[in-house]
Symmetry: D2
Subunit: 340 residues, 4 copies
Amino acid sequence: MIIILDPGATPEQRDSLTTDLKARGYGVHLSEGVERTIVGVIGTPDRDKSYLVEQFEALPFVERVVPILKPYKLVGRAFKPEGTVINVNGVKIGGGNVCVMAGPCTVESPEMLFETADFVKANGAHILRGGAFKPSTSPYSFHGMGEAGLQLLAEARDRTGLAIITEVMDTRDVELVGKYTDIYQIGTRNMTNYSLLREVGNARKPVMLKRGWASTIEEWLQAAEYIASQGNYEIILCERGIRTFENYTRNTFDINAIPAIKELSHLPIFADPSHATGKRSLVSAVSLGAVAAGADGLILETHPNPEKALKDGPQSLSFQQFGDLIRDLKPIAAAVGKTL
Amino acid sequence: MIIILDPGATPEQRDSLTTDLKARGYGVHLSEGVERTIVGVIGTPDRDKSYLVEQFEALPFVERVVPILKPYKLVGRAFKPEGTVINVNGVKIGGGNVCVMAGPCTVESPEMLFETADFVKANGAHILRGGAFKPSTSPYSFHGMGEAGLQLLAEARDRTGLAIITEVMDTRDVELVGKYTDIYQIGTRNMTNYSLLREVGNARKPVMLKRGWASTIEEWLQAAEYIASQGNYEIILCERGIRTFENYTRNTFDINAIPAIKELSHLPIFADPSHATGKRSLVSAVSLGAVAAGADGLILETHPNPEKALKDGPQSLSFQQFGDLIRDLKPIAAAVGKTL
Amino acid sequence: MIIILDPGATPEQRDSLTTDLKARGYGVHLSEGVERTIVGVIGTPDRDKSYLVEQFEALPFVERVVPILKPYKLVGRAFKPEGTVINVNGVKIGGGNVCVMAGPCTVESPEMLFETADFVKANGAHILRGGAFKPSTSPYSFHGMGEAGLQLLAEARDRTGLAIITEVMDTRDVELVGKYTDIYQIGTRNMTNYSLLREVGNARKPVMLKRGWASTIEEWLQAAEYIASQGNYEIILCERGIRTFENYTRNTFDINAIPAIKELSHLPIFADPSHATGKRSLVSAVSLGAVAAGADGLILETHPNPEKALKDGPQSLSFQQFGDLIRDLKPIAAAVGKTL
Amino acid sequence: MIIILDPGATPEQRDSLTTDLKARGYGVHLSEGVERTIVGVIGTPDRDKSYLVEQFEALPFVERVVPILKPYKLVGRAFKPEGTVINVNGVKIGGGNVCVMAGPCTVESPEMLFETADFVKANGAHILRGGAFKPSTSPYSFHGMGEAGLQLLAEARDRTGLAIITEVMDTRDVELVGKYTDIYQIGTRNMTNYSLLREVGNARKPVMLKRGWASTIEEWLQAAEYIASQGNYEIILCERGIRTFENYTRNTFDINAIPAIKELSHLPIFADPSHATGKRSLVSAVSLGAVAAGADGLILETHPNPEKALKDGPQSLSFQQFGDLIRDLKPIAAAVGKTL
């Protein structure tokens, strides 16, 4: 931590600060420049004392405080330089694999779910996605089939052998969802629902953590740290687009985040081009771009009849488009030395 | 709802759409322009059929769909043109009153809480704020005293007569927090935690709903609609700053939202200049601006020793600053014809 | 400047850096922490050596560089702590005055200009605004009357005694516009047109510098520094809203910027609620808020028939609304101890 | 154009509007819904009457106006469905080619320029980039060598056979720069400098138009329309990152814009991963992603000694990195059926 004093700070104020710092057991390194005095604090902050940054910044004679260390540790690249690989029912996530999760936005009926599951299985998907509990901006929208949807997902798993991933939105549902799913999904709206993060951190199943639509990469990694700090290290990050001024697309896919996460963290990083674009016509191009940039996998919405989908039809791939995309992805994966 | 067809749409596609619409019971109004065909749909969508917008937009020959009605109703201005006034233990929120809620970010100890409560009471605050359950970006920060903090808040109420407001973050805590608080606070991180919104919608106590830091005004009103749709109409909206590219301040206070909410909704609108600026030196100016622009009240952080606060010290007003602010607010309130 | 080394930096790399720094004549302050080495550089960077920040940051063993000084000087508060007051034909801008600039977006005809000029003069405006050269997002829109518009503005000045302000967009027009106007306006689209900034910096007339719609406060002050560095210190800053994800309004008025500019700079700060909201119904509330927060003045669009305006009709006040606003502004100005 | 009336609009207001529309020669299509009256206007707006949108929106009884047509035409996909291919000294831009433009941010000296030119030529670049006139946020930074830099670029062209691209920032320099360069570059800061756009529109050389850092895709295409409307159709669009809340990277590369431009426009679309990331370590991954998503080319900064660069060192590739990137790009280009 470096404390930059205000140009008007007096010697007495400076001394009171250094005395305080030494009393707390920290080393102090004083640097008196022409226009500013800079106080280097040695041996702090431990990450569990991050409140110190705010306390020192609240001093009237301090201009600002510059933290030196990253505010996360367990999910940082240095913690596991070789990278995390997660095994879900035999499917490897991370490492040299490109993993495709696909399925409908929402479980609507046995017929459409099974038809989709059979199709994506036959076309190379590794994991089946589908929502049973659905967050919706409007209180009057469809909110999912609940446990009945979870049961259908489990049936689809039995039928196809595909592992399943589904969203959990409420701390009270973590146990129930865990009875059925292979991977928990935390949606963008709940990235800062810390109670929920802790709850899935206590579960012993992999978690896909989607980025908050207005969360920085650093905040996203801190959210992952919540999960890891409870002992669950099987975390998959998923970039799903951030909110910007651009309104031709539903979100702006932050492709920079893919190599950025690779350098900052050991966790696998996925892309969700369906939500990141909101437009079916853009999904394939962005999928190819994401894998070329290093993504470990994709999560995609596909529906037998997008125009009859209860949610997210405009961004759902038709079966034809999904099949074409998988075909086009293979040479891209090969070009970056990975297996699809 | 207006459906704009793609320039390449065929007459057959157009007819299949109008047939479908009529079969659903809607009136159809066809307008063939030089470059586009436009389909007006009469008698739809009911707000509980908003999925239709997505379904029609998912049709390959549709360019876009323009909804006509606002996606909220109970919280819309037309539902209660005279405006909502909420009575909390005799304090009127809304109408011609400027209501000041003040206190520390977090309940840290009985001493600091009671000292602050006594001070803000003596200086004209109407309601005491303080956090017992605290969301923190870092898992290693202080997360509040929990129920012990709630008990202290209740003691402070007994002592000063001030009603209290405190945050609830977890559906499982709604009942517990409700035993102590007079007003529930939903924080910015939970504006899209729909389970939580529904839970406080089922409670029979006023709720302050802070705007999500990257939520539009329309989404914010839809979040309020979640609460109202459960039967709880006592909702206070609070603009607390949105996230933008500007980084000199913690957030950007969206003052436009104050008159915008006044025209769109009948609910009272508050301002939180502490979070909206993140800098103590800017809080007073923005507070004056918010009240002049029509805010029904302010929620402010103040602390006996901001430099010892466990959270939010840099944005907490000292007692001196708080007293000065209240003094400066009075002529502004008078200038806009309100009572402080 | 503080240079934070990468955790993997070797002692040799560290030494090569300190040798280099000393050879350039800087003092070096080395602080070896547990996890990072930090190099304090004394006596640098002079603001004219800001490229050093990038050069050191480009070193492979450097994690990041933290500049200490603000990147502007002439426009910084410390350069003129008492604040700048600009005198335009007897009108004082800054100090304890609230100055109102008003008029149509665009000069359309003598009739509408003179009618507006007479009206705003009679209703308390101090300066007449009107565009002769107009930037438009579409190449097919009206681009202003050019010199004929300037001549009309000059006539309106003769008629009313009001000083005038008008926009200049092209370096080649600075001389021409200067023959007519009392104040140059640099629009939001040209805040980073550095050639133009330098050109008006060489003129000897006041300049209103609007904030770029996606420029930080720091970049805005650097743009002002361009003007000042040419010797023209008569600069008025104008907050006109920034671009965010919110789309109910045309822009988001950054009211935080008003007190922020007051603490960072000695220049007067104006507000443009017309562009900041884009909606006539919100202009008055935001105007009141801006003055209460400390703005030195307002620039407002008003038009005799907003629904016939060639540009910006939806955000132009009718004469009735303008008169009401001035009436409501007076007690707000008085409440903050200023004169309107 | 569709005009949606306010719920409170009276029949008289509706009739005055339709009368007005018919008097202007437009067809009118009236649709009276349960809650709103909608007025379809047939035969308008011509794109050169876009001010009508604002005029109708300014009517007090109009809720909003929905334009139907895109506000650009010459650069729209429909104008040239097969796509534009530009030939610059034998290099094909667009079509099935991946074109690489590379070189230093700024021309600093003959030695560094020629060394870089020789290297990028030998490593597969097609066009040499380098700045002679440089925009800088700070007035105290290096602003380029001016005409001397242009002369060096021309010498480098003679030496290597590579065509050159360089930025023009001032309308007064368009002729001078045109004497040397093969392609004009309009930088992000000048995307809304409409005088400059028109000036290069009048030149008869290709123009690369970078996206404004806070400009929507639609505004960007309108800026291109400015150039095209002067008769210059040889326009290359370049996505260089947009400004968002994320601050780990310098900008957010909007990869969605690549397929979006492909569907909206016939112009070639390039990517600038150097500015889009601001970090050398992220440039290669984003370059691969951009080409996989369909970019027609890349513009890259490379420098013999990034840590001695006068500008943009942190985002400049070393020669080693540049060579590796070209090697990695080849299989990606092949995977999407293109030639590098």
